[in-house]
C-alpha cells in the first residue's frame, strides 16, 4: 500500500522525482553536519576531563571546539532549510497540480457522472484529498528522509565509537518497529471506520437541511436532534477507538527509546568507571541516542501520513478512473439541417423506467417547434439528448442525415445554445457571464444581446450596469433576471440551434410575450451563409404557457415519455386533450386577471 502510493506519485507527478532526489541530498548533507556535532562535544569533554592542557591552551581548544559546534550547526541549518523548502514547496506545487488535473478530468466526464455523485463528496475529493497527498510529499518525505539518514548515521557513529555499547542501545528498536507495524494496521482500519461514519453523518445533515420546511411543519425538530445526536455519539465512539490506538504510539516509542538511554547510563557509566570508555564518548552516546528517539517518534507519525495519503489517493484515482466523454476526434462538424428523431427510447443510467419511449419526430431546419406537457413528461430529457449530454442508440437522432453520435460534441455545442429554467451564472460581471460562450464578443454585441433578452430595465437598477458582479459575491439576481441573462448569453453566440427549456417560467405572461416577439424577429435575421446556415436558426421551445408556443410552426405534446399529440396551435385546440385543457386553464387564470 505504501509502496504503491509512492510509486504512483513518482510515476504520475512530473518533476517530483528530481525534487525528491535533491531534497534527500540536502537532507543527507544536513544530517551529516548534525551527526558530526556530538564528535566535537566528545572532544571538548575529553579535553576538560583528560587534563594535560594548561589554562591558555585549554581555553583555546575549548573555544575552537565551540566554534566548530556553531559552524556545524550553521551548515546543518542551511541544508535543513534547503531540504524543507525544496520538499514542502514542491509538495504544495504538486497538490495544486493534482487538483487542476482532477478538475480537468472532471470537466471531461459525462453529465451522468455528476448526476450520480454528490457534489459534497466531489468537493472533498478536490480539496482534502490532494492536501493529504501534499502532507505526505512535503513534511512526510522530509520526516522520512531525515529519519532514515539520521538514524543510519547515528547508528554508524555509535558502532565506531563503541560497538558493544551500540549493540546494547539498539536492543529496544526492533520492538519499536514491531509496535509501529502492529498499531499501524489497526489505525488504518479504525481510520477508515471513522471516515465512513463521517459520510453517514454528512448525509444525515444534508437530508435534514433539504427537508427542513417539512421538519418544521411536522414539529420534527426534537426527533431529528435525537437521531443526529445518536449518530454523532457513534462518531465520537469510533474516533476514540482510533485515538486510543494512536495515543500509545508516540509515548510508547519514547519509552522504549528512553530505556536505551537508561541502558547507556548504566552500562556506559560502568564502562567509564572501569576506564574502557571516556566520559566524552559517554556524553556523545547520549547525544546520539537523543537523535534516535526523534526519528523513531516521527516514523510513527510519517506512517500515519502515508496511511491517510493512501486512502486519499484511492479516492482521487476513483475519479480519474471514470470514463471520460468520448473524444471528438474523427467527429464530423455540425451542419445545419433537419433534426430527425426516430424511435428514440432512453432511460437514465440506473433508473428503472424509461424517460422517453419510442419518440419519433422531425424538426425542419430553421423552424420553431414548441414542446409542452406535464412536469416529468420527458421534455427536458429530450433536449438534453439533442445536445448529446447523454448518448443515445445509433440512428435514433440525425441532424441533416448525419447520425448525432458522429457529430463532434464541441462543434455541436458551439453551434447550439441553451437557456434552461434555472440557468447557472458564474460569480462574475454580467458582461463576462453573457460573453462566457464567446469571449470575442464586443461590448456592442453584449449590449445588444442584453437588450434583446429584455434585460435593459434591470440593468438600470444595477450599480454598475453590465459590469455589475452577480452571484454569491455580488448582487443576487431574481429568477427572472437570471433567465434573461442566460438568454442574452445564448443570443450572443448567434446559434444555429437555439434550445429554450422553459426559460421564462419566472416571468409574467406579458413580459414573456414581449421577449418572444423580439426573439422571433431576431431569429429571422440569424441567417448565415455556409454549412446550411442559410436555413436560419432552428428553435426548440419548451414552455408551460400556451401563449408562448402559439406562434410555433409546430407543437408537440409530451406525456409520460411519449408524444401524445402534435400539430399547430389551432389544430391542437380543436382536439380533446392536454393542450386544450392547458389552454382552458390558462384562459381561466387570465380571466381572473381581468378583474385587477
Amino acid at each position: 500500500m505504501i509502496l504503491s502510493t509512492i510509486r504512483w506519485l513518482l510515476r504520475e507527478l512530473p518533476g517530483l522525482k528530481r525534487t525528491l532526489f535533491l531534497g534527500a541530498a540536502a537532507s543527507l548533507v544536513g544530517s551529516a553536519f548534525a551527526v558530526a556535532a556530538p564528535l566535537a562535544l566528545r572532544a571538548a569533554i575529553d579535553r576538560m576531563t583528560g587534563g594535560g592542557l594548561d589554562g591558555a591552551a585549554m581555553l583555546k581548544a575549548l573555544a575552537a571546539l565551540a566554534a566548530v559546534i556553531a559552524l556545524l550547526a550553521l551548515g546543518e541549518g542551511v541544508f535543513r532549510f534547503s531540504a524543507r523548502w525544496l520538499l514542502v514547496s514542491q509538495a504544495r506545487i504538486q497538490e495544486h497540480a493534482v487538483r487542476e488535473r482532477m478538475v480537468r478530468r472532471l470537466l471531461g466526464l459525462p453529465l451522468s457522472f455528476f448526476h450520480r455523485s454528490p457534489s459534497g463528496d466531489l468537493m472533498a475529493r478536490l480539496t482534502n484529498d490532494p492536501s493529504s497527498l501534499q502532507h505526505l510529499i512535503g513534511v512526510g518525505m522530509l520526516g522520512l528522509s531525515n529519519t532514515v539518514l539520521v538514524f543510519a548515521m547515528s547508528v554508524a557513529m555509535m558502532a565506531v565509537l563503541s560497538p558493544s555499547l551500540a549493540l546494547m542501545v539498539l536492543v529496544p528498536f526492533p520492538f519499536i518497529a514491531v509496535m509501529i507495524n502492529r498499531v499501524g494496521k489497526s489505525v488504518y482500519a479504525r481510520f477508515r471506520a471513522v471516515q465512513d461514519h463521517y459520510g453517514v453523518l454528512t448525509d444525515r445533515v444534508q437530508e435534514n437541511l433539504s427537508g427542513i420546511r417539512v421538519v418544521k411543519a411536522m414539529v420534527r425538530e426534537r426527533a431529528e436532534e435525537e437521531e443526529f445526536a445518536a449518530l454523532s455519539r457513534e462518531y465520537m465512539r469510533r474516533s476514540l477507538l482510533l485515538t486510543r490506538a494512536q495515543a500509545a504510539v508516540i509515548p510508547g516509542i519514547g519509552l522504549l527509546a528512553g530505556l536505551g538511554l537508561g541502558m547507556i547510563l548504566y552500562v556506559g557509566g560502568r564502562m567509564v568507571i572501569s576506564g574502557s570508555l571516556t566520559l566524552g564518548t559517554f556524553v556523545a552516546f547520549n547525544a546520539y541516542l537523543a537523535m534516535l528517539v526523534w526519528p523513531a517518534v516521527s516514523l510513527g507519525w510519517v506512517l500515519n501520513l502515508v496511511q491517510r495519503a493512501a486512502v486519499s489517493l484511492e479516492r482521487i484515482r476513483e475519479v480519474e478512473a471514470e470514463a471520460a466523454e468520448e473524444t471528438d476526434e474523427g467527429g464530423e462538424p455540425f451542419r445545419q439541417g433537419d433534426i430527425d428523431v426516430s424511435h428514440l427510447t432512453f432511460a437514465y443510467p440506473g433508473a428503472a423506467s424509461c424517460a422517453l419511449s419510442d419518440v419519433t419526430l422531425s424538426i425542419p431546419a430553421g423552424k420553431t417547434i414548441g414542446l409542452v406537457g406535464p412536469t416529468g413528461s420527458g421534455k427536458t430529457t429530450f433536449v438534453r439528448l439533442i445536445l448529446r449530454l447523454y448518448d443515445v442508440p445509433a440512428g435514433s437522432i440525425r441532424v441533416g442525415k448525419t447520425d448525432l453520435g458522429r457529430i463532434s460534441r464541441s462543434s455541436l455545442r458551439a453551434e447550439a445554445a441553451v437557456v434552461s429554467q434555472e440557468p447557472f451564472l458564474y460569480s462574475d460581471t454580467l458582461a463576462a457571464n453573457i460573453s462566457f460562450g464567446r469571449e470575442d464578443a464586443g461590448p456592442e454585441e453584449i449590449e445588444e444581446a442584453a437588450l434583446l433578452a429584455g434585460l435593459k430595465p434591470d440593468l438600470e437598477t444595477f450599480p454598475k450596469g453590465l459590469e455589475t458582479v452577480v452571484g454569491e459575491r455580488g448582487v443576487t439576481l431574481s429568477g427572472g433576471q437570471r433567465q434573461r441573462a442566460a438568454l442574452a448569453r445564448a443570443l450572443v453566440r448567434r446559434p444555429r440551434l437555439l434550445i429554450l427549456d422553459d426559460p421564462f417560467s419566472a416571468l409574467d405572461a406579458e413580459t414573456e410575450e414581449a421577449i418572444l416577439a423580439r426573439l422571433r424577429e431576431e431569429v429571422g435575421r440569424l441567417k448565415t451563409p455556409g454549412n446550411g446556415g442559410e436555413n436560419g436558426t432552428t428553435v426548440i421551445l419548451v414552455a408551460h404557457r400556451v401563449s408562448a408556443v402559439r406562434a410555433c410552426d409546430w407543437i408537440c405534446v409530451f406525456d409520460g415519455g411519449t408524444i401524445a399529440a402534435r400539430g399547430t396551435h389551432e389544430e391542437l385546440l380543436g382536439r380533446d386533450g392536454f393542450y386544450r385543457d392547458m389552454a382552458r386553464r390558462q384562459q381561466i387564470e387570465e380571466n381572473l386577471g381581468i378583474r385587477d
Binding site: 576538560m48 546543518e76 495544486h96 487542476e100 508516540i250 538511554l261 460569480s427 443576487t476
Partner: protein
C-alpha cells in the same frame, strides 16, 4: 451578503481575533474540572521530563566520576521508573485530551444542529444547503483540532518551558545565564516569524475561501459549462484561483522553512556557548561536568517545543477561520419566540386574516391587504392562479414567515404571540410534496406525537383509506421507508400525508393540494379520504381540483395577492362573476376556447 464581506475579512483585526479566541476557549469552560485534571497530569508529566537530565547530572557527578557502580545502578533504576511513570502519564493524558476533545466536538455539533433546527425558514430560503452542511461537519472538526492539538499542547509546552528555565537557574545560575544568552535572538526570530506568518496565513485563508467558492461553483455549473462547450474557460477560472492560493501558501511555507532551522541553529549556538565558556568553568572547578551535560540536554528539551510552535500557529489560524464561520452561524437569530406567549387553548379553529400584506426580502408584495375569516368547523377552499399567493397563506398560518403588515388571528390571538412550535403541533398540515423520513411507516404517521398508540395509527389509516396498501407492504406498518419514499406512488403518498395530519386529531387542517395528476380510481379514493379527514374540523385547502372546491363551505378566490371574490359555490355561481366564468370554462368541454392571445 455583498462584496463587502471579503474586504471586511481582510481588515478584521486583532480585536476580532482575540474575541474569537475567547469564544473558542469558552467551549472548554463546561469541562473546567476535567481540564484541571488534565493540566495536573500535564504538570506531573512535565515534571518527569524535567527530572531526567537532573538524574543524568547526579549519575555523572556522584557516581560515574566518583567510581560508584552501586549508586549508579540505583540512579538508573530511578531513571527507568521516572520514564515508565512519564509514559503512563502521557498515555493517560493523551487519552483524556482526546476524550475531552471528542466530547466538545460532539457537543458543539449537536448544539449547532439544534440551533439550525430553530432557524427561521427565511434563512434556508437564502442559504445553499452545502454551506450550512460544512459548518456542522468540517468546520467543527477543525475547531476540535485547535482545542486538543493546539490549546492544551501549548499550555503543556509553556509549563515545560517555564519549568526548564526555573530548573536551570536552580541547578547552576551561571550556566543558566549563559544558555539564556541566545534568548533575545530567539525572541526576535519568533516575533519576525509571527509577523510574516500572520499576514501569510490570512492571505492563505482568503485565497482558500476563494478557491473553495470557485470549485463548488464549477461543480454546480457543470451542465451549463458543458452545453456552452466552455470547459476551457471553466478550467481557467479554477486554475487562476488555484495558482493564487498556491502563491499564498508558498509564502507561508518559506516562513516556516526559515523559522525551523533558525531555531535549531540557535539551540546549537547555546550548546556551543555552554561547551566553550562552560567548559572553562568546568576545568576551573566552578561548575561540575554533570551540570554541563544536564544543561546540554535541557537546551535540547527547551528548543523542541519552540520549533513546533510554528506548526501549532498554523492549526490555530485555520481554527480561527472555522470558528468565525461556526460562531457566525450560532449568532444567526433563531425563529423569534414571543416575549409573552399566548395560546388559544383549547383551540377552536377560527382563523382571521386582518389586512395582511407580505413580501419576501426584496420583492414585490405577494399578499396585499388580504382580509378574510374562517369560522370554526368551516371548510374553505382557496383558489386562484399559480403564483397568486395561495401557498403563502399556508406558510403564514404555519408561521414560516410573519406578515409584513396586518395580522393573523387564531381564535382571536395574534399569531405573533403564539410560539411557532405550538401552532405547528396543533395544525394538521398536508404539504404539496410529501416528505417521508427514515424509519417505519408507523413512525412517519406518528411523527412528533410519541403518545399516539399503534392502535390509533391503524384507525387513522383506515379512516383515510391507507390501511389496505400499508398492510400489503412487506412488514406492514413496520415496513421501513426506503429512499425517502421513492417506492410509493403519488396517490399512496397523498393518503399517508392525510394519515399523518389526522393522527394528532387537529382542530385546524391546512392542505396544499398536490397538482400531480393521478388515475381516476386513486382520485376517487383520495376524495373519500379527504371527506373523512375534513369532517368536523376547520380546514383551509389550497385547491387545485374543482371537485374539492365545490364541496367547500366557502371559496376564496385570490389573485395577485388580493381577495377578488368569496362565497359558497352556489352564491358565486349566482353572482355570475369571476368564479362563475371559471366554473363555466372548467365544466363545459367541447366549446371553442378563444385564442389565448386575446389578452389586452
Amino acid at each position: 451578503m455583498g462584496w463587502g464581506i471579503y474586504e471586511a475579512d481582510a481588515v478584521a483585526g486583532r480585536k476580532v481575533d482575540i474575541r474569537l479566541a475567547g469564544r473558542l476557549l469558552s467551549l472548554l469552560r463546561p469541562h473546567a474540572g476535567f481540564l484541571f485534571l488534565v493540566f495536573l497530569i500535564l504538570l506531573l508529566e512535565s515534571g518527569t521530563k524535567l527530572v531526567q537530565p537532573y538524574l543524568v547530572k547526579v549519575a555523572v557527578d556522584r557516581h560515574i566520576s566518583a567510581g560508584d557502580p552501586e549508586g549508579l545502578l540505583n540512579i538508573v533504576l530511578v531513571f527507568v521508573l521516572v520514564l515508565v511513570f512519564g509514559f503512563l502519564l502521557s498515555y493517560v493524558q493523551a487519552n483524556m485530551i482526546q476524550r475531552l476533545g471528542q466530547r466538545i466536538l460532539h457537543d458543539l455539533r449537536v448544539r449547532l444542529f439544534a440551533h439550525i433546527q430553530e432557524l427561521p425558514v427565511a434563512y434556508f430560503d437564502r442559504t445553499p444547503v452545502g454551506r450550512t452542511l460544512a459548518r456542522v461537519t468540517s468546520d467543527v472538526q477543525v475547531i476540535h483540532e485547535l482545542l486538543t492539538a493546539g490549546a492544551v499542547a501549548v499550555v503543556g509546552d509553556v509549563v515545560l518551558l517555564v519549568g526548564i528555565v526555573v530548573v536551570m537557574l536552580a541547578i547552576d545560575w551561571r550556566l543558566a545565564l549563559l544558555a539564556y544568552a541566545v534568548a533575545p535572538f530567539l525572541a526576535a526570530a519568533t516575533v519576525l516569524y509571527k509577523r510574516k506568518a500572520r499576514a501569510g496565513f490570512r492571505k492563505e485563508r482568503e485565497t482558500n475561501a476563494d478557491l473553495t467558492a470557485v470549485l463548488s461553483e464549477t461543480l454546480a455549473g457543470v451542465e451549463t459549462t458543458k452545453v456552452l462547450a466552455r470547459e476551457a474557460g471553466a478550467f481557467g477560472r479554477v486554475r487562476d484561483a488555484n495558482q493564487r492560493h498556491l502563491k499564498a501558501t508558498l509564502a507561508t511555507v518559506l516562513a516556516i522553512s526559515l523559522f525551523y532551522p533558525a531555531v535549531e541553529f540557535l539551540g546549537a549556538l547555546a550548546v556551543a556557548l555552554l561547551v566553550g565558556a562552560g567548559g572553562v568553568w568546568v576545568v576551573g572547578g566552578a561548575v561540575t561536568l554533570g551540570s554541563l551535560v544536564a544543561f546540554i540536554q535541557y537546551v535540547e528539551k527547551f528548543f523542541a517545543p519552540v520549533k513546533d510552535l510554528s506548526e501549532k500557529y498554523a492549526i490555530i489560524q485555520s481554527a480561527m477561520a472555522a470558528g468565525e464561520r461556526v460562531f457566525g452561524l450560532l449568532d444567526t437569530p433563531q425563529e423569534e419566540k414571543p416575549a409573552r406567549p399566548r395560546v388559544p387553548d383549547p383551540l377552536r379553529g377560527e382563523v382571521v386574516f386582518d389586512s395582511v400584506s407580505f413580501s419576501y426580502d426584496r420583492g414585490e408584495p405577494v399578499l396585499a391587504d388580504l382580509s378574510f375569516s374562517v369560522a370554526p368547523g368551516e371548510r374553505v377552499a382557496v383558489v386562484g392562479a399559480t403564483g397568486g399567493g395561495k401557498s403563502t397563506v399556508a406558510k403564514l398560518i404555519l408561521r414560516f414567515h410573519d406578515p409584513t403588515a396586518g395580522r393573523i388571528l387564531l381564535d382571536g390571538v395574534d399569531l405573533r404571540e403564539v410560539p411557532p412550535r405550538w401552532i405547528r403541533e396543533r395544525i394538521g398540515f398536508v404539504p404539496q410534496d410529501f416528505f417521508l423520513f427514515r424509519g417505519t411507516i408507523a413512525d412517519n404517521v406518528r411523527m412528533a406525537h410519541g403518545e399516539i398508540t399503534d392502535e390509533r395509527i391503524r384507525d387513522v389509516c383506515r379512516i383515510v383509506r391507507a390501511d389496505d396498501f400499508i398492510r400489503a407492504l412487506p412488514g406492514g406498518y413496520s415496513a421501513p421507508v426506503a429512499e425517502r419514499g421513492a417506492t410509493f406512488s403519488t396517490g399512496q403518498k397523498q393518503l399517508l400525508a392525510f394519515a399523518r395530519a389526522l393522527a394528532a386529531d387537529p382542530r385546524l387542517l391546512i392542505l396544499d393540494e398536490a397538482t400531480a395528476s393521478v388515475d381516476s380510481e386513486t382520485e376517487a379514493l383520495i376524495h373519500e379520504a379527504m371527506d373523512a379527514l375534513l369532517a368536523g374540523r376547520t380546514s383551509i385547502t389550497i385547491a387545485h381540483r374543482l371537485s374539492t372546491i365545490i364541496k367547500s363551505d366557502r371559496i376564496l378566490v385570490i389573485h395577485r395577492g388580493r381577495l377578488v371574490e368569496s362565497g359558497t359555490h352556489a352564491e358565486l355561481l349566482a353572482r355570475g362573476s369571476v368564479y362563475a366564468r371559471l366554473y363555466e370554462l372548467q365544466f363545459r368541454p367541447g366549446e371553442n376556447v378563444p385564442p389565448a392571445a386575446s389578452r389586452a
